[in-house]
């Protein structure tokens, strides 16, 4: 099934940057489904709508969902598989004789949904899940260095998780915005034709930094590399 599965963090980054609207034109270009789970819906709508600080953003997400640009998935099989995989993921890294709980249900569910529907990718802005899928050694290093203790790895559980998630691609809201940039969806922000080229750099740089400042796990180096990729880097 042609689909992208969004976790909580990526929706929040987009909403906090007033970029949620790009989901509409992007979905048309993508010609597939944009999926969220029930647990994600609760995190991005039900909880923040009760919080004065984020209730407006929650409302904009609710609107996108009601319009059908995001599809809600609830499935017993996915739920059961997620419970199993959460348990596996949270029994991989051990410190001081105790397994470390590194992932939450909604985060793992994103991977399970992607597998279930053979989706094109998961859109995840938070770091831990992406690192576990892409390079578990980096995650083990972070745990070891930050906790100042030896980290034991349960190889059996690690293999189960990695085998399960091996075909799942992970992108971030930043890559989603790069696609929007490529399609010209973001061009509505740069209408002054005279200094168009300089503004294109400011546009991409501004969007990527905006997402970083709102919690998307992207480094300054990666932002510069993205600008370099499009020949927009000075010097």
């Amino acid at each position: 099934m042609k689909a992208l599965v969004f976790d909580t963090s990526s929706i929040i980054s987009l909403a906090l940057n007033n970029l949620l609207w790009i989901i509409r034109p992007l979905k048309k270009q993508f010609k597939g489904s944009f999926i969220i789970s029930e647990a994600v819906r609760q995190e991005v709508i039900d909880k923040p709508i009760k919080n004065r600080r984020f209730m407006f953003e929650a409302l904009t997400i609710k609107d996108i969902l009601n319009e059908g640009y995001l599809s809600l998935i609830e499935d017993k099989e996915i739920e059961d598989k997620t419970k199993y995989l959460v348990n596996v993921a949270n029994n991989i890294f051990k410190a001081n004789n105790s397994y470390i709980t590194i992932l939450q249900h909604a985060e793992v569910e994103c991977i399970v949904i992607a597998k279930h529907f053979n989706a094109d990718a998961c859109v995840v802005d938070e770091r831990t899940l992406r690192f576990l899928v892409e390079d578990y050694n980096k995650l083990a290093d972070i745990l070891k260095n930050r906790l100042h203790t030896n980290i034991e790895i349960n190889q059996e559980n690690l293999n189960i998780f990695l085998n399960y998630s091996k075909d799942v691609k992970v992108i971030r809201s930043t890559e989603l915005c790069i696609a929007a940039y490529e399609f010209g969806i973001l061009d509505r922000y740069i209408t002054d034709r005279k200094i168009h080229l300089e503004l294109r750099k400011t546009l991409l740089e501004g969007v990527l930094w905006g997402l970083k400042f709102r919690g998307c796990a992207i480094s300054e180096t990666e932002i510069n590399d993205a600008l370099g990729f499009y020949g927009l880097l000075k010097g």
Partner: protein
């Protein structure tokens, strides 16, 4: 309570008492990170609570507007008393008394902060966000860190973005990521 966790909390309570008595803001801030490892590894709520309390005290202590108010003397004495009672309860393995003391301590700080604070944000919530961010920095996911500190993803992400946590450990080159997304969206 795990024995090593108990020992760590007792040390933080002792250190916190000393630092507050000597009005050492930096020491309090440093102590507030001592139980974050235990919070991350064991998801220990007591380690979370003490980190929030000690960090909140450091924030209160550094603000002149708080220290110059009429309420300060009573607040200051009260905090020392709470720290001492909590430490003594843990020393005697009286966990129920410890837990009650800590929950009263939270209320005590909250009431004082509400009276003195000029901002909508309160000191305890800010401390939760800062310490939750620390747990994320340790490699725990945003969702798990938010759950542990009773926060939403929104509050944590908003704060994490202003840190350099994501500036290290790149797992894939950016050009490969761009190629991947172009493939997904069939962009030529």
């Amino acid at each position: 309570m795990i024995d090593s966790v108990k020992r760590d909390i007792i040390n933080v309570l002792k250190g916190g008492y000393r630092a507050l008595k000597n009005k050492e803001v930096a020491e309090l801030r440093d102590l507030s990170n001592h139980t974050i490892h235990n919070a991350s590894i064991f998801r220990d709520k007591d380690s979370v609570s003490i980190a929030i309390i000690i960090f909140s005290l450091s924030k209160i202590l550094e603000k002149n507007q708080y220290r110059q108010g009429n309420e300060w003397k009573g607040f200051y004495k009260g905090c020392l008393s709470f720290l001492d009672t909590a430490r003594s309860s843990l020393d005697k393995d009286n966990f129920e008394n410890y837990s009650n003391t800590m929950s009263e301590f939270f209320k005590f700080i909250s009431i004082f902060d509400r009276k003195m604070n000029l901002f909508i944000d309160n000191v305890l919530d800010n401390a939760k966000i800062k310490k939750g961010c620390r747990v994320y920095e340790h490699g725990i996911s945003i969702g798990c860190a938010a759950d542990l500190f009773g926060l939403t993803h929104w509050e944590l992400m908003n704060y994490i973005g202003n840190t350099t946590i994501s500036d290290y450990n790149i797992t894939m080159s950016m050009s490969d990521r761009i190629k991947m997304v172009k493939e997904i969206f069939k962009i030529k």
